[in-house]
Symmetry: C2
DNA sequence: ACCTGAACACCGTTCAAGT
DNA sequence: ACCTGAACACCGTTCAAGT
């Protein structure tokens, strides 16, 4: 999981760095990482940068724009190069990138919710989209189906991480997923087996909904669907 | 799309209704429906009920509990009976329920984000889970795979609605999806075709990512995957 | 159990002003 | 362009008190 401090935060020679949007975003991500999603505020960012709250509006139109900038930053941490092919199989490329993106989001759980509320409209989103469409065309889908499959995967990765993070306090590092699954299992054994027999019988599996294994299973299901469509298209 | 006023909000004979959790949740949903997700606050609910802000804590432990109660309420508006079988095919039952749930969420877009941040832990979630596991077992999956597929579908419905709503102001009724797709298309035609050729070529389809058609396509892909796994299992 | 009154430590944002 | 000072209209939550 990418554990890189953002570039402008790292030690560097020369004069004291001036305040710019990158530094504002660095600070926003740092706050999120220290206190979870509720720790991000315009005032907290300003406070940490030693300026007045309203001075933030020099760099960002409003809180929503700050959140979009955070989304862009975190998205940029997952290497889109993993999507490029076709040296590796399209399936491998997709699972590699999806896992990388999930990893980056789990490294910054406080930012995960923002992906569901602040539309991804930055440059990174375009590169991700372009890479995914190309990958699914490599897989044999029509351009239109490749576009649709792109969105399916985006929804799935972002949705599953957001739901996973929602069960935590949002502060990294998250508890090991085995611990979180164990806690879920303890809760799930409380459900009355007489009224929810199937849930009771599958509690072990439901406990693992918020794990890498479930994530991989979901992706496999999706990609089987993609492969089937590609195969059907070749037969046409 | 279910357009039912919540029961305790409808006219009823008898003495003035007393203040209880149901009325608090009614009010919370009403605020969300009038002002979008940002309109929900402990103070606003109290204000509308004519009590002091802190009096809300008689009914709810904190804001998070209020949000979970809203999630439970909205979830309860989608008829879980649609999952029950097996008179109708499992595929039909699933698409019917998924569409109903999506419809209810789009009717209350301000609540959609809450599903990604406030874990569904109420009774309705249990009934939905039980119904989905049963449905996927009817489809021919093993109990464990039925549990996994249940989560895949939940992630997908909640994730896709949240992303769809994120592009709106969150106040119902949402603009017709054809309008929203048209606006997206206008934006997408701005992307430089030389650096994002595939995105440019599929802009028409990407514009429709936030529509019922895309939702149905996604579900179809998922269910094809499910059918393939069920078939493989029968051959074992 | 259900509510008020008062307070604490916060929010995002605007406006006018200074350099 | 970048920042301060002051203000406005908000937040969630706690505590002590009243019925």
């Amino acid at each position: 999981m990418a554990k890189n401090a953002s570039p402008s935060e790292s030690a560097r020679p020369g004069p004291a760095r001036s305040l710019d949007l990158e530094r504002v975003v660095d600070t926003a991500v740092a706050l999120l990482d220290e206190g979870g999603s509720s720790a991000l505020s315009v005032r907290a960012v300003a406070g940490r940068l030693g300026i007045q709250p309203n001075a933030i509006y020099t760099y960002v139109a409003d809180r929503a724009a700050l959140e979009r900038a955070v989304v862009e930053r975190v998205l940029s941490l997952a290497d889109v190069g993993l999507l490029a092919g076709p040296a590796r199989s399209w399936r491998r490329r997709l699972t590699d990138y999806a896992s990388a993106l999930r990893g980056v989001l789990l490294d910054h759980p406080g930012a995960a919710v923002l992906f569901m509320s602040a539309p991804m409209d930055g440059p990174s989103a375009l590169f991700v989209g372009e890479g995914l469409v190309g990958l699914f065309m490599d897989a044999g889908l029509s351009p239109d189906d490749a576009s649709r499959a792109t969105y399916t995967v985006i929804v799935h990765v972002l949705g599953s991480v957001a739901l996973e993070v929602a069960e935590t306090d949002g502060r990294p590092p998250l508890a090991p997923e085995s611990d979180r699954a164990r806690d879920r299992y303890a809760l799930l054994t409380q459900v009355p087996a007489d009224v929810f027999p199937l849930s009771a019988a599958t509690a072990r599996t439901a406990a693992e909904w918020v794990t890498t294994a479930q994530f991989a299973w979901d992706l496999g299901l999706l990609l089987d669907g993609v492969a089937a469509r590609a195969k059907a298209r070749r037969r046409e």
